[in-house]
């Protein structure tokens, strides 16, 4: 990879000689790349990310850009296809010559793109959920969303406070559900959790009463955990109420952290708990909460610009963009290497997902406090009283 970039440098330098004005113009913008799943099955993730990036890049440019330079955002839509994502990643690196990338909607597309950015030595801030993205740590890869492992830990922490230790699990067999299920099983012993029964359902199943009946008939189950996203958890929640199981606490994951879940599950969602980012309960956060301002500002800006309810997914893109912008400001350079170093030095960055402090061994930078335990009451999110 070295020799082509040297060649490009020589070409660029000679172009500079020939046309100073043209080169000066090129100097005024900073190219940031993005590959998102704005259409396709993951579009409910990619679409708000896409809108958020465009919205805020415009805002940053209106306010004068970064260190006087405007941002030029190059966005490609991979439609959720990992092969396409990789092709676009190569295009971003080789043709568009971006200085950094914020994108990668799903774990699948992100994993396909990682080698491209690692080889090209261009920083890549991923918006994908799974822990594999940053574990093991790769020099140029960062991410903003919470991991499924953290979600399990947050749930178990809450269960432990309520003295509930014997749980049933019902997980979706889609990528998200399967990955979180595996993480939960892995960390359960650390919290003294006993998984008495472990059921699953297909991502498009429309009836989970059979699995839930089995859980209901398993003696001693004190709480039920449901890792999954999409319509599955809504149906689980409805079937749960149908079978009269609401006396046993039900925990959902951050995968359903959008208003549509409450809408779909209806009254059955009352009392359901889930770990989620502060963004969902921005208006209910106490005034002294450090994230209060960021999340309410983002929510207001996004909702007034797009006329759509805010989701945590768009928030991940917001966090990624601003971690990058602040790193570039600090680096005062468009050299990918320097930007990378500054991203890694991110400390105390207040985003929608939590307070980010990265290190050479932690390219996520969030701890469990980034998750809030929410409880659905009267058809809305509420901060759960811990220990109750």
């Amino acid at each position: 990879m070295k020799s082509p970039s040297t060649l490009k440098f020589v070409l660029a330098a000679s172009a500079l000689g020939f046309s100073f004005a043209g080169a000066a113009q090129a100097q005024e913008t900073i190219k940031i790349g993005s590959v998102l799943s704005a259409t396709g099955p993951a579009s409910f993730l990619g679409e708000p990310e896409d809108k958020t990036l465009r919205l805020y890049v415009d805002k940053i440019n209106e306010a004068g850009g970064i260190n006087g330079k405007k941002i030029e955002l190059v966005v490609y839509d991979d439609g959720g296809d990992a092969n396409k994502a990789r092709t676009f990643a190569t295009r971003l690196v080789e043709d568009d010559e971006v200085v950094a990338m914020v994108g990668g909607t799903t774990t699948g597309t992100t994993m396909a793109m990682i080698p491209v950015f690692q080889d090209a030595e261009v920083p890549f801030i991923s918006l994908a959920g799974a822990i594999e993205v940053v574990d093991p740590v790769r020099e140029y890869v960062f991410k903003t969303p919470h991991t499924d492992k953290m979600a399990c830990e947050k749930i178990f922490e809450d269960l432990k406070k309520r003295n509930l230790t014997k749980i049933g699990m019902i997980s979706g067999t889609d990528g998200f559900g399967a990955s979180m299920r595996a993480q939960c099983i892995k960390v359960a012993p650390n919290y003294g959790m006993e998984i008495a029964i472990d059921e699953s359902y297909g991502p498009r199943d429309s009836d989970m009463t059979a699995q839930l009946t089995k859980i209901k008939n398993t003696p001693g189950v004190q709480a039920v955990v449901n890792p999954g996203f999409g319509q599955g958890p809504a149906i689980v929640t409805r079937n749960y109420a149908q079978l009269g199981m609401t006396g046993t606490p039900l925990y959902q994951s951050h995968g359903v952290a959008s208003k549509s879940f409450i809408e779909l599950a209806g009254p059955a969602a009352e009392g359901v708990r889930l770990p989620a980012a502060a963004l969902l309960v921005g208006d209910k956060l106490p005034e002294n909460d450090p994230q209060k301002k960021v999340v309410t500002d983002y929510k207001q800006t996004y909702e007034s610009a797009t006329k759509q309810p805010v989701s945590t997914f768009g928030g991940h893109a917001y966090d990624g963009l601003f971690i990058l912008v602040e790193a570039m400001k600090r680096a005062n350079s468009t050299d990918p290497q320097k930007i990378r170093d500054e991203i890694e030095k991110t400390k105390g960055f207040v985003g929608t997902g939590g307070i980010v402090t990265m290190s050479p061994t932690d390219h996520l930078g969030l701890d469990l406090s980034a998750f809030r335990m929410l409880e659905i009451k009267n058809g809305d999110w509420n901060l759960a009283q811990s220990g109750s």
Binding site: P41, S43, F44, E47, T173, E199, S200, Y201, G202, R204, S206, D207, T209, A210, Q211, T213, K214, N217, G230, Q231, A234, I235, Q242, L243, G244, S260, E263, L264, G266, P267, A268
Partner: protein
């Protein structure tokens, strides 16, 4: 016993939907020899159009009726614009056309509606009914009853009306039917419209339970097709039995065996049946006349 009943009713409810999709397959297959893979999209249209019309403030029964009309129109257009012009083509070509049509319908639905999941209120409340210890959603009775009415209606239509007999005649022998003065093109259009209506009814009945989105049709088409194959392609009774059986296999598989392997279990049974009786449970043996 309560457990058994719970699985039974859950299986029958899901099975009733598969049965309706399989019936739609059967109707079109009988009239034209085409396996219409856009059948699932009619279910999607039924649900989605009702959701959006209802959200616009139209009373639920009217919204449902409107959704059925829209689906019938789409079914007729599918026949008029895609199947009819390719009249002379082989069955395989026509099947590929229906796959293309289903992709198109899904894409259009994605743009016209949105990519979110939607629900409808249950027709008669959400409070579960207790049947000997099994908790049943009242909507399950609507699904089962609705499926029963559709099946009965279709039976009466096919067996006791002249038009229905014309459909059967076309199915039996297109050339002979034409010779006795049956307009087979009209009959084909009728089959597409009818099966669109059946699909839409299934979509409307089941949406309060299963939720709907622009892409629910794919899997339903697959399950409905499996049900139709299991029962014997072309036999309305087979379609109903096949659908219910598939639903029950899934529910009992998930309940008594393992939820991880319930789909595998259902498809394994189908494979075994088809190995033993390739024409399906109620299928006619196809005799190649030379």
């Amino acid at each position: 016993m309560a457990e058994f009943l719970q699985f039974l009713i859950s299986g029958l409810t899901v099975g009733a939907v598969y049965a309706l999709v399989a019936l739609g397959f059967t109707l079109i297959y009988n009239a034209s020899g085409v396996v219409n893979f856009a059948q699932g999209e009619f279910v999607m249209l039924g649900g989605m159009v009702t959701v959006f019309t209802f959200a616009a403030g139209v009373p639920l029964p009217l919204a449902a009726l409107f959704a059925i009309v829209v689906s019938i129109v789409v079914g007729l257009l599918l026949h008029r614009l895609a199947i009819e012009p390719a009249r002379g083509a082989s069955a395989v070509t026509l099947i590929i056309i229906t796959i293309g049509a289903s992709i198109l319908l899904r894409g259009v639905a994605q743009i016209v509606f949105d990519k979110q999941f939607h629900k409808l209120p249950a027709f008669t409340g959400d409070a579960p009914v207790d049947i000997m210890g099994a908790a049943v959603q009242p909507q399950s009775f609507w699904v089962l009853g609705g499926a029963g009415v559709v099946v009965l209606g279709l039976y009466v239509f096919l067996e006791h009306t002249v038009l229905g007999k014309a459909v059967l005649a076309t199915a039996a022998n297109r050339l002979a039917a034409r010779l006795v003065g049956i307009n087979t093109t009209t009959i084909m259009a009728l089959a597409f419209g009818g099966s669109a209506a059946i699909g839409a009814v299934a979509g409307i009945l089941v949406t309060p339970i299963t939720l709907t989105s622009y892409d629910v049709g794919t899997l339903l088409a697959l399950k409905g097709f499996a049900a139709a194959m299991l029962g014997g392609m072309g036999n309305p009774l087979g379609a109903v039995v096949g659908g219910l059986l598939l639903g029950l296999l899934e529910a009992f598989g998930a309940g008594y065996l393992s939820s991880t392997y319930k789909d595998a279990f259902a498809f394994l049974v189908i494979l075994i049946v088809l190995f033993a009786a390739p024409q399906g449970l109620f299928g006619r043996r196809v005799v190649e006349r030379v």
